[in-house]
């Protein structure tokens, strides 16, 4: 099978591209930076560039679309350009090129309006109520992708939840950095149950999704993917810190003040950003989005996902942490 993987410079995209390559698929990757993956055709460019997308999609049987702007803060226009317009571009090119199947990689945050998600399935993307530019743009992107589902092009949206593993620049590195610099408090009791996905399992799930997506198979729907092993958020963070030899956070902040502080910081950050502050200022100490992520439950009903994908997680949480420690 000839498969295009967009966003292959990322942790998950790279993993998917390698897994497909290893099983004998002819893989093309599309991203701005060099992917560093051997044995694949590489197209360098942005998903916002019609020419780059067009040439990458041409001749493919299938597309796994991961390229996205992932950030806690940022300008809305940037999110729209990469996540919404980019997806639109990829979907349009795929349809034009006669691609038969598309796996759109989404995020559970597209349906997360700030309240706890307790054992729910993949509820519809809700751009009007989700929190933050990332989630809103990804919600719109998922709608764009699923709207393209047709007899000619089968589309499945997969929402891996909090993917982590060795080499992760997003979740793990930020937690470790914040913990090391004392900018990661325990919010509330730290007991909110949060499910995550070990990298290998997310890769497996995406490969399975690619295989089962078909007009007469799975298509036109969104599936949340996770390990199905939720843990209290403080326990997860402590385990990640332990794997990196960093002391776990102990400073506690009650939820309501934290929420307020996050809200204020977020606004302040946005103002500074608008006033011409450089992108290199890094991440704000606390955002409302982050506070909600750290103080509400989000774990998912995995039965439908596992049944439709014919997939179960291969690497358990404990094994995942062992590998993380070994790699750090």
């Amino acid at each position: 099978m000839r498969v295009l993987v967009t966003g292959a410079s990322g942790l998950l995209g790279g993993g998917v591209a390698r897994a497909l390559r290893d099983r004998g698929d002819r893989v093309t990757v599309l991203q701005r930076r060099p992917s560093g993956i051997t044995g694949v055709s590489e197209v360098r460019g942005s998903v916002t560039d019609p020419a780059a997308v067009g040439s990458a999609v041409a001749g493919q049987d299938a597309v796994v679309h991961l390229a996205a702007k992932v950030d806690v803060v940022g300008a809305w226009d940037d999110f729209v350009a990469t996540n919404v317009a980019g997806t639109s571009l990829v979907v349009g090119a795929a349809r034009a090129a006669g691609v038969r199947r598309l796996v759109h990689v989404s995020s559970p945050s597209v349906a997360h309006a700030g309240r706890s998600l307790v054992g729910v399935g993949a509820t519809p993307a809700d751009p009007d109520h989700v929190r933050g530019g990332y989630a809103r743009s990804k919600a719109l992107a998922e709608q764009v992708a699923l709207a393209a589902d047709s007899a000619a092009l089968a589309v499945t949206a997969v929402r891996p939840h909090l993917v982590w593993g060795p080499g992760d620049e997003q979740l793990i590195a930020r937690i470790v950095l914040r913990a090391r610099t004392g900018r990661l408090p325990v919010i509330g009791t730290g007991a909110a149950l949060v499910d995550t996905t070990v990298l290998e399992n997310a890769v497996d799930a995406l490969v399975r999704a690619l295989d089962v997506t078909a007009p007469d198979g799975v298509h036109g729907l969104a599936l949340v993917v996770s390990n199905g092993e939720p843990r209290p958020i403080a326990e997860l963070i402590a385990a990640i810190c332990a794997a990196h030899g960093v002391p776990a956070p102990t400073r506690r902040v009650p939820v309501p003040p934290a929420r307020l502080a996050g809200s204020l910081v977020e606004r302040g950050w946005a103002l500074r950003h608008r006033a011409g502050g450089s992108d290199d200022h890094g991440q704000p100490p606390l955002t409302r989005f982050l506070v909600e992520q750290l103080s509400t439950a989000h774990w998912f009903d995995q039965r439908e996902t596992r049944r439709l994908l014919g997939w179960t997680p291969r690497v358990g949480l404990d094994e995942g942490f062992r590998r993380l420690a070994a790699a750090s």
Binding site: V118, A191, A192, E229, D301
Partner: protein, 890 residues
């Protein structure tokens, strides 16, 4: 034309139709099959009252099974039917007959009625019978209504509405009556009333004064006075009902200020065959208040109309009734022989030789906590019983009367129970620890004819609004026994063993207290079963054992089995007040060989054992058998009791208020078996059958809501609901048809609501309550085995395993009380403990707790302080693990 407005549910508007009858009246009705269909199609006709309309029955229509038509009419002047001049009850019955003919209801028919739809609908049923069409009647579903008014003042609200000064004002010119009647509905003590859309729906046709006029007229036609024009018709309806031999189901909201316990009792008198479910928290609008009422209506109709079905759930009579035969209990016998075997009654005792019995001088000994003791010989106890019986008879208490007992455990309780049985009355017994609210609810649900108590408990009964005449035990005892007055015609009629002997209330540890009815024969069978736990009779044919009853109910087994019994110096309502010293003194008092005690009592005994002097230590060694009763006993406690009483055999029988004992096991067997999936409770007692209804992935029995014998298995290692049978199971639940029909399954069995499995040796292991089964994505998980595994860990004193999240995809949560001080802050277990807990769980099964939480106490049941309220733990864990407050709710 006024028709159901767009704001009403789509279904209601779909069923809505208008029909003109031959007298030119236009009727509105809801009809699931307006084309009438085959004439033999059974039809359920629903008749609403005042001031509701057919909307009331929408859920009944929605739940109708295939093969049934449902027609709910709006009575003339009501709902969306024509407004008319005032109509009398008689004319309304004519009206109903006419409209049913007009819509082609000519075949078999069942009726559902509410409020003043009762006299109309039931009047029509009587008319069918009078016309020789009684065989068309399939069944009557009767919700809060009446066909007879007492000559005493009418219910306050109705009287208020009726009184002429207020009549027009209240009912026509203001919507107070319409709104007021719906405001009467309170689906529960904590509910604020009906949902807004339902209140609007009920009031929808009554928006203007003109449209409310029939409400006024209806109220005016309520025959409160004996000389009211409609009174003869009402009386005829009432008489007709008494003659109807049709299956009936009474679904009754107990919080109804209009139709009260008086009206319920009247209906039951007229329809002795009726099944009854009394909803303690439902109000006048019981049809609205009980969400699954429609489901229950159809469940019952299926039973009375289905092939081979049997409406009757009275277990006592089941074997005698061929399937499908109409069920009607026999009338109460005027006299029946007493249950107990006190020698005065059995004839086993030669005249003048009453003391020539084991325990003749010390049939009942009560050691008083403040010193001294009461010792009653058989003669003295029998004399007290006879004196009370004489007093009860003089007070008019006789066979069939229900007597609630509010007397202290000890001599008074024994006297009261046996005295009531002596005159053929039914004892109503609750647990003193229930708490005022539950106690009041329990006693009111049993509707006792009399309350027997002491001066102070009778005052309490008044505060608890317990119905029934007040009888003071000490006053009734205040006259000599007149046994000859008690004896006439004890003829042992064939149905006497079926007569109700006791209503015992469940503790409420596993739900709201439920009344459990035992007939004489079932209680006798229970005595036999308890006797089976004791030493076999000696060479002289006499029982050998002498009992210590540290658990109040067991003191009754002594006199009933003819064994001496001693109540130790303790507060019988607080088992944990039994000290080792008090126990030793009690043992010494009668040379006791057997102890019945709850785990709480045993705990205090071992805790206080270091204060025993050598003499008392020696006395304790006289105990041959110790039965832990009333709650599950922990492994650690068994070891401690064994250390104190090394020569006694420790037993932990399993049973419930509905059937006791089911199984028995000794501590040696438990220790030999080692840890397993649950608590080993041993082998079924003689004549007891134990089977398993295997669980499906949803954690409920896979066979569905109604079990047959084919759904039960005796296969080892299959986990499911524990289903038991034996001659000493309960007769039925009291006035709880819904519970009875859901648990007396298969016929002749009792569904315990516990889950467990049998092992290869035929022994039963209890794994928890059905309601506490956790349904993970990998299948159901039962809590007890896992909890035991956790409690074996160092540092864990007590554990509860519960599920959080939606059924079918729940996550396991372990909530533990630790032996050391809990962590100063937070609820998350320290990493080492969490790791240990998950390791133990992994060794015990496939599912690992998502979270391990630490608390300084777990919620326990009020009675025994032994059963963990897992439902409360689960609610708390759900909140904490969603990021909410960790403050304990208990």
């Amino acid at each position: 034309m006024t028709r159901p407005a767009p704001g009403l549910p789509a279904e209601v508007r779909r069923w809505s139709r208008f029909v003109r009858t031959e007298d030119g009246r236009r009727w509105h009705l809801l009809d699931t099959h307006p084309d009438a269909g085959h004439p033999d199609t059974p039809t359920l006709v629903c008749v609403h009252g005042n001031p509701t309309w057919s909307y009331l029955w929408r859920r009944v229509l929605a739940a109708a099974p295939d093969g049934w038509r449902v027609v709910a009419v709006d009575q003339l002047g009501m709902g969306y039917s024509d407004r008319t001049a005032p109509r009398t009850l008689g004319r309304r019955i004519d009206d109903l007959d006419r409209v049913l003919a007009a819509v082609g209801v000519t075949g078999p028919v069942a009726l559902a009625v509410h409020d003043w739809g009762g006299p109309v609908g039931l009047g029509w049923a009587s008319r069918l019978a009078d016309r020789g069409e009684a065989d068309r009647l399939l069944g009557l579903v009767i919700t809060n209504t009446a066909v007879h008014q007492p000559d005493r003042p009418a219910p306050g609200l109705i009287r208020l509405a009726w009184s002429s000064a207020l009549l027009g004002l209240v009912t026509r010119t203001t919507p107070v009556f319409v709104r007021g009647a719906t405001a009467l509905s309170r689906p529960g003590p904590f509910s604020s009333g009906l949902p807004r859309e339902v209140r609007r729906g009920l009031a929808a046709p009554y928006r203007s004064a003109a449209r409310r006029s029939a409400v006024t007229d209806f109220v005016a036609d309520i025959p409160l006075e004996p000389d009211h024009p409609s009174r003869p018709v009402l009386d005829a309806v009432a008489d007709g009902l008494t003659r109807l031999d049709v299956p009936a189901l009474l679904l009754w909201g107990a919080r109804d200020p209009v139709f009260t316990a008086y009206h319920l009792a009247d209906l039951r008198r007229r329809l002795p065959q009726a099944e009854l479910h009394r909803y303690p928290d439902a109000s006048h609008l019981v049809v609205e208040d009980v969400p699954d009422l429609a489901e229950q209506v159809w469940r019952w109709l299926r039973r009375v109309t289905g092939p081979g079905s049997l409406a009757a759930t009275d277990d006592d009579r089941r074997p005698a009734d061929p399937p499908g035969s109409p069920h009607r209990p026999p009338h109460r016998p005027p006299h029946r022989p007493p249950l107990y075997t006190l020698p005065v009654r059995t004839g086993a005792v030669p005249a003048g030789g009453r003391t020539d019995r084991p325990g003749g001088d010390d049939a009942l000994v009560v050691v008083h906590p403040r010193g001294g003791r009461t010792t009653l010989g058989t003669d003295a106890l029998a004399d007290r019983v006879d004196r009370l019986a004489t007093g009860l008879r003089a007070a008019g208490v006789g066979p069939g009367a229900r007597v609630a007992l509010l007397v202290p455990a000890g001599v008074d309780l024994a006297t009261a129970v046996f005295g009531c049985w002596r005159v053929g009355a039914t004892v109503v017994v609750t647990d003193a620890n229930l708490g005022a609210g539950a106690l009041s609810a329990a006693l009111r649900s049993a509707a006792p004819d009399a309350v027997l108590g002491t001066r102070s408990t009778l005052l309490a009964a008044r505060a608890l609004r317990v119905p029934g005449r007040r009888l003071r035990l000490d006053r009734l005892l205040d006259r000599p026994a007149a046994t000859e007055a008690l004896d006439p015609g004890v003829d042992g009629r064939a149905d006497a063993p079926l007569a109700e002997a006791a209503v015992l209330f469940t503790s409420g540890a596993t739900g709201a207290p439920k009344g459990v009815v035992y007939s004489e024969s079932r209680l006798q069978a229970q005595l036999d079963a308890v006797a089976g736990l004791l030493a076999p009779p000696g060479d002289d044919g006499r029982p050998q054992d002498r009992l210590v009853a540290a658990f109040a109910p067991f003191l009754l087994y002594g006199p009933a089995l003819g064994l001496p019994v001693v109540v130790p110096a303790m507060d019988p309502t607080r088992p944990s007040t039994l000290t080792a010293t008090a126990l030793a003194d009690a043992v010494a008092a009668v040379g006791a060989t057997v102890l019945f005690a709850s785990p709480a009592a045993l705990t205090t005994v071992v805790d206080t054992a270091d204060r025993l002097d050598p003499g008392r230590r020696a006395a304790l060694a006289g105990l041959r058998r110790v039965f832990s009763a009333g709650a599950p006993v922990g492994a650690a406690l068994l070891h401690r009791v064994h250390a104190l009483l090394p020569d006694a055999e420790l037993h932990a029988p399993y049973g419930m208020t509905e059937m006791l004992p089911v199984t028995d096991v000794t501590a040696e067997e438990i220790w030999a078996a080692g840890p397993g999936r649950g608590v080993l409770v041993g082998r079924p007692q003689p004549r007891v059958r134990v089977r398993i209804a295997p669980l499906g992935p949803d954690g409920r029995p896979a066979a569905g809501a109604d079990l047959t014998e084919a759904d039960l298995t005796g296969e080892p290692e299959v986990t499911g609901e524990i289903v038991v049978s034996g001659p000493h199971r309960k007769s039925r639940y009291d006035r709880l048809w819904v519970v009875e029909s859901a648990t007396a399954q298969p016929p002749g069995w009792h569904r315990t609501g516990d889950v467990g499995h049998l092992d290869a040796d035929g022994r039963l292991w209890v794994e928890g309550r059905l309601a506490h089964v956790i349904t993970t994505a990998d299948g159901p998980v039962t809590p007890v085995g896992l909890e035991q595994a956790l409690e074996r860990l160092d540092g864990v004193a007590q554990a509860a395993v519960v599920g959080v999240g939606p059924a079918g995809t729940q996550q396991l949560v372990a909530v533990v009380r630790v032996t050391d001080d809990p962590p100063r802050r937070g609820v998350l277990a320290p990493p080492a403990l969490a790791t240990a807990v998950r390791g133990a769980a992994r060794a015990a099964g496939p599912s690992v707790p998502a979270a391990v939480l630490v608390v300084d106490r777990l919620p326990l049941d009020v009675r025994h302080r032994a059963k963990i309220d897992r439902a409360a733990v689960a609610r708390w864990a759900d909140r904490v693990l969603a990021g909410g407050s960790a403050r304990l709710d208990w």
